[in-house]
Amino acid sequence: MTLSPTSPTTSVNSAAAPPGSAEGAGLTLRDAVLGRPGAPVLSGVGLEVRPGEVLTVVGASGCGKSTLLRTLAGLLPPLGGEVTADGRPLGGPGGGRALVFQEDGLLPWRTARANVELPLAIGRVGRAERRRRAAEWLARVGLAGYEGRLPHRLSGGQRQRVQLARALAGQPRALLMDEPFGALDAQTRAGMQQLLVEVLATTRATVVFVTHDVDEALFLGDRVALLGAAPDAPVRLFAVPRPRDRAAHETPATAAVRRDLLQSLGG
């Protein structure tokens, strides 16, 4: 079931994208060494994230999933090799690549609204427009009426919704998500996955979604990237037969990919 990175897949969110939303960024790693200076975590990484696709990343804990994501965000400069966005080397954080954290990514002294307004303020959007767009985004993630709440007065799931709204309010070309639903209970997590699918249908952003949950990876991703346990193991890519379709869970094709993924993770 291992596929070459160039195998065709369908990308739902490029078809239904609204006019005016930014084209998704293409992200590429070539023979990249990732980690903190003096402490490389991954080496020889080759990976191509196509514009507009949802790529989910799975791997054993400690294999460098977060390191990969922080590198793509521009927070960790690559120690070797090449990391590019649309063919140009990453020049540090920003540049339309938003990061969603597992938890506590919101600024606790800012209300939900003020958190969502932050990327707009950084992008020099006027005050009234900022407020309007923040309200719109909060409504889109189902938090209308919660604008004035501070993060500690929201539930874990609600905080992640605000993070999602905040990340998307800045109209990023790539959305990088670091186990965003990992700290939520199963029911909330399923709801958040559905919400994410709905919200992503309205953008054309490329999504890299790190998770340790194979089912989550198979539901959300167009493709699943598997990071090996060894630091220099090649990244393996799996095409998802029917992305974002709950009914596909039991189909033989999906089950085969799941079995393959679980086997690779277990071994």
Binding site: G74, G94, L99, L107, T111, G148, R149, H152, Q187
Partner: protein, 329 residues
């Protein structure tokens, strides 16, 4: 309604504490108790109160008070601004830490009051010298707390702003300063207390006017009721200024999750909307708050007459939809 009764009860306890202290003092001095310690020479509460009332009518008393307040506010405000600036610089920049750190670490152990001889040599007048000593006293607690608070900030907050395209100044203004505020106010609370000790001591040594100067003058002429009036004045002023700092700290760090903690502590569940009027404490005394960094002094202690119990901090907006409505849809 239990909240109101509990508050009244706690006010009563506080009044009993204060009255008990004054009563004991009056008893020991009026009866001229001479055990191992001697109370027969100490003025009684009534003597001190009489002297206090008499002095309140004199211009000298108010001039002393104004002079001391002016000195401490000048020194303290300078210390607050420069202490926070230096603390942030040292906490954020290795260059600043290397350049400023060694000198400041050498100066830090020197008690501010020991700088009196230096102040006399360096400054043109007593006034600047006293302000300088007050400044030195308050500067280091603020510096140290700020540095700790800045270093203890969650990296995720900074990363969030960076990935949104924010630069250095954006991170400083939107993450570092607000995030360090609980720690900074811990330092300011300690600082205002040390500043009072030092301004009074400096006035005793070299002041013209000021509460410390007057208290020492009264001592040299063996006017003990006068000395005690000075002490009461210092106590009241110190309490007033610390309460002001505490209050400012609580108002500036409303976002800290206090209400839940207070509830966990079994305090009353009375809820109040954000935007409380001045004079209401938002947290019970000594509540340990997350966000106060390790090593930083938490802003503790509550103002006199503060409302005890669980009042939700800011963010208790008008919306009271239960979480279950939208949770996990």
């Amino acid at each position: 309604m239990t909240g109101r009764w509990e508050r009244a009860y706690r006010r009563l306890l506080r009044a009993v504490s204060l009255l008990g202290f004054l009563g004991l003092w009056q008893l020991l001095t009026a009866l001229r108790v001479r055990a191992w310690v001697h109370f027969d020479q100490l003025p009684t509460v009534v003597d001190v109160a009489r002297e206090f009332r008499q002095r309140l009518g004199t211009g000298v008393y108010w001039q002393d008070l104004g002079d001391s307040l002016g000195r401490i506010l000048t020194g303290f405000c300078l210390a607050a601004v420069l202490g926070v600036a230096a603390g942030v610089a040292i906490g954020r920049s290795r260059l600043a830490a290397d350049l400023l750190g060694p000198v400041l670490e050498l100066l830090r152990p020197i008690p501010a009051i020991a700088l009196v001889p230096v102040a006399i040599l360096v400054f043109p007048g007593n006034e600047q010298g006293i302000v300088f000593i007050t400044f030195c006293a308050a500067f280091f607690p603020v510096l140290v707390s700020t540095r700790h608070a800045v270093r203890a900030l969650t990296p995720v907050w900074e990363e969030a702003v960076l990935t949104m395209g924010g630069g250095r100044w954006r991170v400083l203004a939107q993450v570092v300063l607000p995030g360090a505020l609980p720690g900074i106010f811990g330092g300011l609370s300690v600082g205002i207390g040390v500043a009072w000790i030092c301004v009074i001591s400096a006035e005793m040594i070299s002041g013209d006017y000021g509460v410390g100067y007057r208290t020492w003058q009264d001592y040299t002429v063996v006017d003990y009721p006068g000395v005690l009036v000075g002490m009461v004045t210092i106590g009241l002023l110190g309490h007033l200024t610390s309460s002001a700092v505490e209050l400012a700290g609580r108002r500036a760090t409303r976002w800290l999750p206090r209400a839940e903690q207070a509830a966990e502590r079994g305090a009353s569940g009375r809820r109040t909307r954000g935007g409380l009027p001045f004079g209401r404490a938002l947290a019970p005394a000594g509540a340990v708050r997350p966000g106060t960094p390790a090593g930083g002094t938490p802003v503790a202690g509550s103002a006199p007459g503060s409302a005890p119990g669980a009042e939700s901090a800011a963010g208790d907006g008008p919306v009271t939809v239960p979480d279950s409505v939208t949770h996990g849809r």
